[in-house]
């Protein structure tokens, strides 16, 4: 089958499945819509990006976020579930010129996904996890991040008790930006400490 006929076949197949299941009263299209909405709109790194942007423009919020992360997040108008389940043990750490934080997960599948979205493939790689603890500067270098010797590197092991995320440094040249503009440039990698926030071409 060519790509386009395969595409048309798959689309028809899914449509056939869905319409039959709906006619038989097994599911409703609303149920399916809700599921998709949750993954597309409620859960993902855009939540973390909003939190970081607010911390950048509001020093008092940042202070609260560092002291009691779940309480600070609860004050924001984010989707429900952010503070529950996987989100309830979150703890924010701040990158500064003196300290660079990197998050790893050595044991389990714990990840603050309500804030960061699903983890990138390398996060679960055993080699990455082991090396990030042993030689974080070298691993960061491979990600394109040269951390000066004068900056302390702290590695945080995320666990069932605490799921860490990083408030990256606000890049120069973003003075006067709105929270929305700022949130648009915060990437999941930056909130793991594996990248710095860059002002991209598009923003």
């Amino acid at each position: 089958m060519s790509d386009s006929s395969r595409e048309a076949y798959n689309a028809a197949r899914v449509k056939a499945l869905e319409s039959l299941l709906i006619e038989k009263g097994i599911i409703t299209s609303e149920t399916v819509d809700k599921v998709i909405d949750f993954f597309e709109k409620d859960m993902g790194p855009f939540n973390g990006a909003k939190i970081v942007a607010k911390a950048w423009v509001d020093p008092e919020f940042k202070q609260r976020l560092l002291e009691d992360t779940p309480a600070a997040i609860a004050q924001m108008n984010l989707p429900r579930g952010m503070a529950g389940a996987e989100g309830e043990h979150m703890k924010a750490v701040e990158n500064t010129p003196d300290v660079h934080n990197l998050i790893v997960c050595t044991l389990c599948s714990c990840y603050p996904w309500p804030v960061l979205g699903l983890p990138p493939y390398w996060f679960k790689d055993p080699t990455f996890r082991a090396r990030a603890i042993r030689e974080p500067r070298k691993v960061l270098q491979e990600f394109g991040l040269d951390i000066p010797e004068s900056t302390e590197v702290r590695v945080w092991d995320t666990s069932a008790q605490i799921r860490w995320f990083v408030i990256p440094e606000r890049p120069a040249g973003t003075e006067g930006w709105t929270e929305e503009q700022l949130a648009a440039i915060v990437t999941p990698e930056a909130m793991q400490g594996a990248a710095k926030v860059q002002i991209s071409q598009s923003s």
Partner: protein, 112 residues
């Protein structure tokens, strides 16, 4: 602890071989049928028609079949096509719909 089903699904897929494609932490759908197939599979489990783990196992099997018969860098690899195959098999196995009506409906939609 009471958790939302979607959260459970996400947690069960974290970092495993069968985890869906994503871009920058968000799920990546290239066409509408992919997100519908994704949503139907989760909705059926949420409604109790099968255990989520049963779907995962069916998906893992569908992926393994492909890997056994293709080079791993074959550009025809399509994650959601495996997802769709797993969903279809499970729905037919459980007699939620039967093979004949699925074929007929698919043909009707293709001819429209």
């Amino acid at each position: 602890m009471q958790i939302k089903f979607e959260q459970f699904v996400t947690a069960s897929m974290l970092g495993s071989q069968d985890a869906p494609p994503r871009s920058n932490g968000e799920l990546l759908f290239q066409s509408d049928w992919e997100s519908r197939a994704f949503g139907i599979a989760i909705a059926l489990s949420k409604k109790g028609h099968y255990e989520w783990e049963d779907f995962r196992q069916e998906l893992i099997a569908a992926i393994a079949e492909w890997e056994a018969s293709h080079y791993l860098d074959d550009p025809n690899w399509d994650y959601y096509q495996r997802w769709l195959l797993a969903l279809e098999r499970l729905v037919l196995e459980l007699n939620l719909i039967d093979t004949q009506e699925l074929e007929t409906r698919t043909q009707q939609l293709l001819e429209r």
